[in-house]
Amino acid sequence: MRFAPAPTASRRFATALSALAALVFLTGGGAGRPAFADTLDDAINGLASSSGEKISASVKQLATLDDPRAIPALDALCDDRLRAGADGRAWIFDSHTHDLKDPLTGAPAPAGARPAKEVELDNDIRRDAQPVLAQLQLASPDKAVRLAAAEELSKAGSDDAAVMLHKAYDKEKDRGVHDALALAVARLDIQSKDAAARLAAVQLLHKSGNDAMLGELQRLLSVGADGQPQEPDAQVRAEAKEALNAVMSRRRMITAVGSVIYGVSLASVLLFAALGLAITFGLLGVINMAHGEMLMLGAYATYAVQTFFQNHLAGAFQYYLVAAVPVAFLVTFAVGVVLERLVIRHLYNRPLETLLATWGISLILIQTVRLIFGAQNVAVANPDWLAGGVELAHGLVLPYNRIGVVVFVVAVSAAVWVLLYRTRLGLNVRAITQNRNMAACVGIPTKRLDAWMFGLGSGIAGLGGVALSQLGNVGPELGQSYIIDSFMVVVLGGVGRLAGAIVSALGLGVINKLIEPAAGAVMGKIVVLGFIILFIQRRPQGLFAIKGRSEA
């Protein structure tokens, strides 16, 4: 908002406000009288007059009319953007385009308006105009404008601003603005000399639980230099104490909920990586160190699709993500199958060697991506429908992209579950997991399924890359930071268990984020790693061990 009175002027501003409030009261607020368009028009044109008195009178008249349509004109006046046209009318000057616009309709000015000259203003007029602007803004149909006006008025801090705010507070219908007004009223009233007003303010704060006024509450409860409490009234003190507790507990809750939300979204990304790993590790007994690079490839595939849409399909840009999902899956699926056929196939039953070979593959993939896309991080934009978020409560925003990632991972997990537990293919795969030789004996094409499942595991990681690209920047070393975590998930959850992967991904993600506020990000990670190392001591088979005879 542009409306910002100089701090030194607040006292005079208050006087002006009270005068205005009285005026509004005397004239019946203008609400009872029909506000004719031409009266409004006259008043606005009066703002561009050459005489200061005429401008002052017009400002007062606008206050009387109380019509929000005058906001642009007043705003322009306070901002030195109002011009007096050659035709004697007021025009708003646009400093970017150098156009003149009609203050009411926004239509461009006719040629007759030029040359326009600046309206001469002295500071008194400005000080008079600003509260009128705030008053009109409080009644504006635009929520954001009302909010900003309430904020400004409560900062100005005077009993008369309080009167205006109280009135607006009683009238306000919208819940968000109502809360903001309550806060603004409370901020003013808490400094009032009247104990009852202070009590009401503290009660309001208690009810809203908003932590913006924490300092004020603490001040009320603190003890001054003379050993006396800052707040003389015992009832107010008691209420303030309760309000403080309410605010603090609410704040703790918000932090906790926020940690859980971030933990869940971290868990979703881990889960993408771990789902694929659970399949390749559980089914093939292969430690795929290049698995993190599949995440990276998926993210770069998203970036490539985005770039393609930008260049060739700009109209459908909002839907590039829909196209990126299958592309990323197919790319990583193909890479996975090729890897399996070329390298991994020869290394079954030699897990340690696979580990080294796949590490080598990951180096090659990283370097290739670096040569194609450059070593710098690239940015993948959120489509509009994933930008922004819902505000669950004051100070707690749930971003759409994180919701989207969670929804996506739930859908993919469900699909994988259906594939593994409700299809013929899945039955075969599970048979191989339990006993490869027996499965081969009953005619399951184990070799072909190995390749497919390796591709599937890589493809799921590729989908994880799509999700990851929506949360942050994409770089060639993106996958490296996830590989250790996702191995931890698999080891913790038990090899080859979907449920184990899901539970341990969720657990690790949430625990990680819950420890973070207390111990810092790095210590959080160390604590979690230490915990896993200890855990594996106790249960080397993981949380959900497969019960079978093949265990050694």
Binding site: F281, G282, G285, I287, M289, V343, H346, L347, N349, R350, P351, L352, E353, T354, L355, L356, A357, W359, G360, I361, S362, L363, I364, I366, Q367, R370, L371, T433, Q434, N435, R436, Q480, I484, F487, M488, V491, V495, G496, V522, M523, K525, I526, L529, G530, I532, I533, I536, Q537, R538, P540, I546, G548, S550, E551, A552
Partner: protein
């Protein structure tokens, strides 16, 4: 005694060893002292580089002890290396007290962080003997405790690899923090002198190189002693069939913990020799890729041979030094390709290739050939198969 020595190495082996040791310890310094105009003279700048490679060689031999002979693939040996390096770094930092940028008694980074006192774990490191003892004992103790817990609960195969990697990763994160007290991101650097001699002077660098070469030869002898002893045969048995070994009455955990701890301490020694030669130690020495590269040196050279890993370390690091300068973007391809190709086609490494060629040439059945040793590639996998539910 004579018999034990011959068991250690054949006659020819001893001769080769003596020649190699003489080349490393005597010939290279001699060539270095020649004037630069001689065709074979070793320039000064190569000395610390060679010293660095020899430290890697120590590390590779230590790694071979656990991986090649005992079948434990550690992805955390860089941790012990770095800890040894940090121990030496702490000594060097303490010795230059008052000579830093801030002229303070504390190391520069502590002054920078506005610390007033030396943390307790830094005390005593101004004494060389104490520092050396610590830089060997601390990694040794860590390895002992970790190994005891890990091997006692029968963590093996890829699980152990992942857990060691996680441990190293956690340690790296810890050392990256300023609050840990080891200089955070930048680590320890700007060393001035070692045992009263300037680290910048060529003679100190040469002395460090000779120390590394001597340490390498001693490490080799020690490891050779271990693997040719009865203990060594138990280790090989554990690698090839741990359950059977246990059934024969050998408590495999104790053997594994012993060889694990020994290997960790050798790595720490390598780290301690490495740091004064490169002049810096920071947490990136612990990053996962370093440990994995160590494994590939061993694999390239040939597991279970001791000489092979040493060759692998020298070969790969030489190639790295050359390629990262000459073809920077190609190096990762080469390294990645080596990872893939060696595991696919050279399970016994370069040395295995050489011995196989010699065997074909000499193809006489009654002569005992060194390459009769079981290839770890095929055998080492057997017990691990059980861990992964197939």
């Amino acid at each position: 005694m004579r018999e034990r020595l011959l068991q250690f190495h054949g006659r020819r082996g001893w001769v080769v060893l003596a020649v190699a040791a003489a080349v490393l310890i005597v010939l290279v310094p001699l060539l270095n002292s020649l004037p630069r105009s001689f065709p074979l003279s070793v320039p000064d700048y190569l000395i610390p580089l060679l010293g660095k490679f020899l430290c890697y060689g120590i590390m590779a031999i230590a790694m071979d002890l656990v991986w090649g002979y005992t079948g434990i693939l550690s992805l955390g040996h860089a941790l012990f290396f770095a800890l040894g390096g940090y121990g030496m770094g702490m000594y060097l930092m303490r010795r230059m007290a008052g000579e830093g940028v801030y002229r303070s008694n504390l190391p520069d980074f502590m002054v920078f962080l506005d610390w007033k006192q030396l943390p307790w774990y830094w005390h005593g490191f101004q004494h060389f003997g104490f520092a050396v003892a610590m830089l060997l004992l601390v990694p040794g103790l860590l390895a002992l405790v970790f190994g005891w817990f890990a091997f006692r609960s029968r963590i093996k195969g890829v699980y152990l690899s992942i857990v060691t990697q996680a441990l190293t990763f956690a340690a790296m994160l810890l050392f990256f923090q300023n609050a840990t007290g080891f200089g955070g991101n930048n680590g320890l650097t700007d060393f001035k002198h070692l045992l009263g001699r300037s680290l910048q002077s060529p003679s100190t660098k040469l002395a460090l190189y000779i120390a590394s070469a001597v340490a390498l030869v001693l490490t080799y002898l020690l490891c050779r002693f271990v693997v040719t002893s009865k203990l060594g045969r138990v280790l090989t048995a554990i690698r090839d069939a741990e359950l059977k070994t246990r059934f024969c009455g050998y408590e495999s955990t104790h053997y594994k913990v012993f060889v694990w701890t020994l290997s960790a301490m050798l790595c720490a020694l390598a780290g301690a020799l490495y740091v004064p030669q490169v002049g810096i130690i920071n947490p990136s020495e612990m990053q996962p890729s370093n440990s994995i590269e160590l494994a590939i040196w061993v694999a390239v050279g040939g597991r279970g041979t001791l000489v092979g890993p040493l060759l692998g370390a020298l070969l790969l690091n030489g190639a790295k030094s050359y390629l990262t300068a000459a073809f920077p973007s190609a190096w990762l391809y080469v390294l990645g390709g080596i990872f893939v190709l060696v595991t696919l086609f050279l399970p016994r490494g370069v040395l295995g290739l050489l011995t196989a060629a010699r065997k074909r040439k000499a193809a006489s059945p009654d002569r005992p050939v060194e390459a009769e040793r079981p290839a770890p590639a095929e055998r080492g996998a057997a017990p691990e198969k059980a861990t992964v539910s197939t």
